[in-house]
């Protein structure tokens, strides 16, 4: 009913391959963007920005980066947390060495450092695949976090071994640092996420994206039709690590405000991987759905028992939270192994056919 496609005729191939083959998709996206740009900022509290909106955006960006590598190019990576760390530390060094630099430029540049590291650790993918590669990316995870701790130049030899985000102004408004307002940070993150998403949609729909998908689906066949596997895999590592690095820089500069090396340890990698998998591998939209679920769940679990009048000690709540997340992951995998994006696709299909069942 809502998704009636009667009367929307396609008269050319270009129209058939358009970004929104069904007009209602565009309306829906427009509605979500209006919500994100206008309604949420007007209604959300400081807590909602810090605990929900900003982390959802940043985690979905990181998951988007991982999804390009794992979902589109088929290379499983468990080192996302460390690559986020590279982005964050690179951005910190750039900002402290060139304090006059615009923050957008600094974050964009820091992505390249992460991308370079990503390509270096992606080199084993030319020789090994599957779980062997996944373990190989764990090498990046452990080595880089160790490096963040031991190489004191990275955190400017500060005694706390942590990076502190200084106050950074852009056009007279403080966007990062202790005095920045949550709403400015939200808009900053939202703009970056939108820009990267547009880039990601286009790159995955285009020639490079099709090359990645063919490598994912069957690498030998891809090689036989003349695809350069090395180039395809390394570009996937490059683009993916770039986005992940940008997400890492945002993670520290516009959300956490300070970071130590252990922030980037393996739980972070797994959280991003969960988002990508629960959202749906090989889908752009899934990352946002997955991030909403994973970020909102702990918040909901910690507030619901209190609202119901059931007192739960905070330690128990935390353990319960871990347990429920674990159970939810298993449940989701059993119910819909292709993730929330696939769930939405099914619902959308039903809407289009409604009121007919088939």
């Amino acid at each position: 009913m809502l998704y009636r496609i009667a009367g929307q005729y396609k008269t050319s191939y270009a129209a058939d391959h358009a970004l929104f083959p069904v007009r209602q998709d565009a309306y829906l996206l427009g509605f979500i963007l209006v919500m994100a740009f206008v309604v949420f900022p007007m209604t959300a509290s400081e807590f909602a920005f810090r605990a929900l909106l900003i982390p959802v955006l940043i985690y979905s960006l990181a998951a988007l980066g991982l999804n390009i590598l794992t979902g589109y190019a088929g290379q499983l990576s468990l080192g996302t947390g460390a690559f986020m760390g590279v982005g964050a530390y690179a951005c910190y060094k750039i900002v402290t060495i060139f304090p006059e630099l615009n923050l957008v430029v600094a974050i964009a540049l820091s992505g390249f450092f992460s991308a370079a590291v990503g390509v270096a650790f992606g080199l084993p993918s030319l020789r090994i695949k599957g779980f062997y590669l996944a373990i190989a990316t764990l090498a990046a995870q452990f080595f880089l976090v160790w490096l963040f701790q031991k190489w004191s130049w990275l955190y400017n030899h500060s005694s706390s071994a942590a990076i502190q985000v200084p106050n950074i102004d852009m056009f007279g408004i403080t966007v990062a640092g202790p005095t920045a307002r949550a709403i400015t940070q939200y808009y900053f993150v939202l703009c970056v996420v939108c820009a990267v998403t547009i880039f990601a949609i286009n790159i995955t729909r285009g020639r490079i994206g099709r090359i990645w998908k063919s490598v994912r689906d069957m690498d030998i066949a891809a090689e036989l039709v003349g695809i350069n596997l090395m180039k395809a895999k390394l570009t996937a590592f490059f683009v993916s690590s770039y986005i992940v690095g940008v997400a890492g820089a945002l993670f520290v500069f516009l959300w956490r405000g300070a970071a130590e090396a252990n922030l980037f340890e393996i739980p972070l990698s797994f959280r991003v991987l969960f988002i990508a998998i629960i959202g749906g591998l090989g889908s752009i939209m899934g990352n946002y759905l997955g991030a909403i679920l994973i970020v909102a769940l702990p918040v909901v679990l910690s507030t619901v028992p209190a609202a119901l009048g059931v007192p739960i000690a905070s330690a128990t709540a935390e353990h319960l939270n871990i347990m429920i997340v674990g159970a939810l992951i298993i449940t989701f995998l059993i119910l819909e192994p292709h993730g929330l994006a696939q769930l939405w696709a099914t619902i959308r299909e039903k809407f289009i056919l409604w009121p007919f069942p088939h």
Partner: protein, 319 residues
């Protein structure tokens, strides 16, 4: 020049200058290598029979040890708590097979892998709620494991070997031999290996998939309990132990995901190599704590030249 000397000359001078210390380091490496090998063995068994990369093996170690200690804390004597823990591990194996694996049969590898991470999180939360998150002491003496140490004086030096470490090594050898006999001689063991070779052929001659899966996860649970007792008696039992699971992963890369021999040899090699590197190169040159990544880097180097690992099956690609 100084750096080169630090890398190529000084470590070896140190080694031969104090052979007793070198023996001590080698022994320590061998003990932790045994434990890595045991964890890797749990991984290999499950991977061989079901193609599941069981990320939960590390947490099963902690969970088993925690159950043992927790039951003993509730007043049960050790000789009751130990079989009861085995029963818990059996229940866990059955539950995992029923709830998680059976509905996920035939899904892609990565989905099953994620499911085992889900199991990991679930067990962490569950274990902490039931037994508490604080570090507990392993009930070493109640289990009849000797404490104290044997002391030797080779080359006029001094080497001390803890009796519990000796027990660990002997126990691991017994466990591995028993496992190999079981896999190679018993009917059930052959069924496990048949399932590993060819799923469909095994099913068609009447091997029950679900029975074998429960069995394999139970064996992995027994190995986990043995590892948990051994490691817990060294470092105490808490969820911090799960990091040792990450130590077993490079062992798998090095030894190959399908090879029992590879898990054992790889485990011992990595245990010894990382201790040597940490003591003679890591601490003087790199500021220490290199054990977190050294094994991975070694495994990565090996894989660049032998992608199937040292003992893995050679992967032949067909179109």
């Amino acid at each position: 020049m100084n750096l080169l000397e630090g890398i190529f000359v000084k470590p070896f001078q140190d080694m031969f200058g104090a052979p007793d210390f070198l023996i001590q380091v080698l022994w320590e490496g061998l003990v932790s290598g045994t434990l890595y090998a045991l964890i890797a063995l749990g991984f290999v068994l499950i991977y061989k029979s079901s193609r599941i990369f069981n990320f939960a093996q590390g947490i099963m170690v902690v969970f088993a040890a925690l159950t043992l200690v927790g039951l003993h804390e509730r007043g049960l004597p050790a000789w009751v708590a130990l079989p009861l823990t085995l029963v818990v591990m059996l229940i866990l194996a059955v539950a995992i097979e029923r709830v998680v694996l059976r509905p996920l049969v035939n899904q892609p590898d990565i989905i099953l892998f994620m499911a085992t991470i889900g199991i990991t999180l679930f067990l962490i939360g569950f274990g902490e709620i039931v037994f508490g998150g604080e570090n507990k002491a392993m009930i070493t003496s109640q289990l009849g494991i000797p404490t104290g140490s044997l002391e030797f004086e080779p080359f006029g030096g001094f080497v001390s070997i803890e009796q519990r470490d000796l027990t660990t090594v002997v126990g691991a050898i017994v466990l591995v031999v028993a496992l190999l006999v079981f896999l190679n001689r018993s009917k059930m063991g052959r069924a496990i290996r048949a399932l590993g070779d060819d799923h469909q052929a095994a099913l068609s001659v009447g091997i029950s998939l679900s029975t074998i899966w429960v069995l394999v996860w139970f064996i992995a649970g027994i190995i986990a309990l043995a590892t948990g007792i051994a490691w817990g008696s060294r470092a105490g039992v808490s969820f911090a132990l799960e990091v040792i699971a990450y130590k077993a992963l490079p062992v798998l890369m090095l030894g190959g995901l399908e090879s029992v021999t590879g898990a054992i040899v790889g485990g011992l090699m990595i245990g010894v190599a990382e201790k040597l590197f940490e003591i003679y190169w890591g601490q003087p040159l790199l500021g220490g704590n290199t054990e977190t990544w050294f094994a991975y880097v070694v495994a990565l180097m090996v894989l660049l030249f032998r992608p199937q690992g040292l003992f893995g099956e050679k992967i032949i690609e067909r179109v």
